[in-house]
Amino acid sequence: MATDARVACIRRVLGSFPDWSEPVVFSAPAFRIVAAATLVASACGTPGDGRSRAATIEIVDDFGDTLRLVRPAARIVSLNPVITEALFALGAGARVVGRTHWDSSPVAALAVPDLGDGMQPNVEAVLATRPDLIVLYASNGNRAAAAAFHRAGVPTLTMHTDRVADLPRALQWLGRAVGDTATARRVADSVTRSLDAVRALPKGATRATVFWHVWDAPVITIGAGSYLNELVDIAGARNVFGDLQRPSPQVTMESVAQRNPDFILAGPVAARRLRADAQWQAVAAVRKHHILVIDTAVVGRPGVRMGEAARFLRAALDSATRERRP
């Protein structure tokens, strides 16, 4: 029977979470910082700044393939929302000719044609846009697509963007590919500085413990391998399932009750559901209404808005801890 297909399907669905496949709503204030960074960058530098027209651009990507470009890319298909957002932050948004169905940020990116899934993408639809660069998320499910793009002779750059440290590297590669390494450096520095500023805030005597609600049926949370686990750490809290290595482990409701987090972090819709659900009352934090509603628009992906995400999370935790104390 179709069990194999089912298992493969589940792997694909579960394996891709919470990297970037979840739809996230755009939030204007969150983007302001990057927009500002970009403005500053373009005001300081001349348009040709950091470009090297003559030299061939060469990057060995995450599948071990070598990307070679004779000139900066002008028609880019981005099959990863983190990359789309980064390209717009680099001021290269006008060169993006295709995006995934899951893109939502910045708003301007929504005007770019939607080419469907970024995992196991529709190869023909991508090639039909006549791209001179395809940026692909580096997961095993995309190996066949990468091979097809290489065969079609289209320069393709595969990279994973799973962790905080992946972003500066992504920006550096993209900066080289679009011929503007100076802006890339500035955006990366701005994100890193924002994160460092949150990291440097004084931590309380005891770190608050949190459970990050990703999904209900089955219950899925975040593990050590995820960007959100790093974000929780930067914001000065501790993930109760931080000992699990997988990025998005599935856990039982009772083990959530057992690890007894101080706070539950959940999206607005899920938070409402948790409060009303009888089963979730087994978790003390739910009973005590210690549920922090997370703006998934800000905190969704390990992209250029990470600094904003860390600040948001830290502020939410601080005010919740203050309310809890008296």
Binding site: M1, A2, A5, R6, C9, I10, V13, L14, F17, S21, E22, P23, W215, D216, A217, P218, V219, F241, L244, P249, Q250, V251, T252, M253, E254, S255, A257, Q258, D277, A278, Q279, Q281, A282, A284, R287
Partner: protein
């Protein structure tokens, strides 16, 4: 069957339920479990025992009893020891009905089993038509093949229905299709209990027909059974019970195969007793399988359907050898 054997079945069920209530990641002393059941003690323990463990145990019991009885009725009527709602594609049909209902926005606890039943009934009719076209209703292997074909079709239909759905819906649907009693809430359980009790009592009421049909259709007709009508009633009731389990716990395979065989191994012969013994054994088996599903890989949870398949498939192979 002797009283001592019925007692044995009851003990097995009670033991499984006790394990289901007592075991879990949070250690709770047996005395505290009992206190929590009656609503005394710490709120944490009460919430865990009543809302997490008890609801799972009850849903697992309904699922096991429903699948056991459904399998027993199908095996008796078809005179086929390999007949089982999952293998015959009946559960698959029920899943299509349930997914259709969810896609159409009909998620009410009262409506889902009805939609699943409509799908299951269609699957039963389809399987019997395919088997008849191959002139093989009497041949267990042809009937099984018809069931596999219908099951594969049901799978494909679900994939098509889910193609346009959001990532979250797909994830939940796939998890549900692997079988799980984790999402047991009391409103759903109340309706499922009602439907399952109705179907179960009705099946026991027509148990005599199952006994007579097991003698062969001609013999049954000779003894005054309206063969076509009786067969239809039994199949629809078996489909209803399977549908109730699918609506509550998704696809849990092989229980309907293993349980009636175990009941018969205990020396039960008459259909009424086989049905009742299958209900008790099925409940014990699925409650036990769920304990395994949520403790073996803690803090993660295995799909219940995977656990029952691990038990059921070797059993199926042994029986297949014997039948052929």
């Amino acid at each position: 069957m002797s009283l001592s054997r019925w007692l044995l079945l009851a003990v097995a069920l009670v033991a499984a339920c006790a394990a289901g209530l007592a075991l879990g990641p949070v250690p709770i002393a047996p005395g505290d479990v009992v206190r929590a059941l009656v609503g005394a003690g710490e709120p944490q323990a009460i919430a865990i025992v009543r809302d997490l463990r008890l609801s799972r145990v009850v849903l697992a019991m309904i699922t096991g009893a429903g699948l056991g009885m459904s399998g027993a009725a199908l095996q008796g009527t078809l005179r086929n020891a390999l007949a089982e709602p999952y293998l015959l594609g009946v559960s698959g049909g029920a899943a299509v009905g349930a997914v259709l209902a969810v896609v159409a926005g009909l998620t009410a606890a009262v409506a889902l089993p009805v939609a699943a039943f409509a799908g299951a009934a269609c699957a039963v009719v389809l399987v019997l038509l395919v088997a008849r076209a191959a002139r093989g209703r009497a041949d267990p292997r042809i009937l099984l093949m018809a069931g596999v074909v219908v099951g594969a079709f049901a799978n494909a239909a679900i994939m098509v229905l889910l193609a346009g759905a959001g990532e979250g819906t797909v994830r939940s649907a796939l998890w549900w299709m692997m079988g799980s009693v984790a999402g047991a809430d009391w409103a759903t359980i109340r309706w499922l209990t009602l439907y399952a009790l109705g179907g179960g009592v009705a099946l026991v009421a027509v148990a005599r027909d199952i006994d007579l049909l097991a003698l062969g259709e001609d013999a049954a007709a000779g003894l005054g059974v309206h063969v076509a009508g009786a067969t239809r009633r039994i199949f629809l009731l078996a489909a209803l019970l399977a549908a109730v389990t699918v609506a509550g716990a998704g696809l849990v395979g092989f229980v309907g195969l293993v349980v009636p065989a175990l009941a018969r191994a205990l020396g039960v012969r008459r259909a009424r007793e086989v049905l009742l013994a299958s209900a008790v054994l099925g409940a014990a088996l699925v409650v036990g399988a769920d304990v395994v599903a949520r403790t073996v890989r803690a803090p993660a949870e295995l799909p219940l359907g995977a656990v029952t398949a691990l038990i059921g498939v070797p059993f199926f192979l042994v029986r297949l050898r014997r039948v052929s």
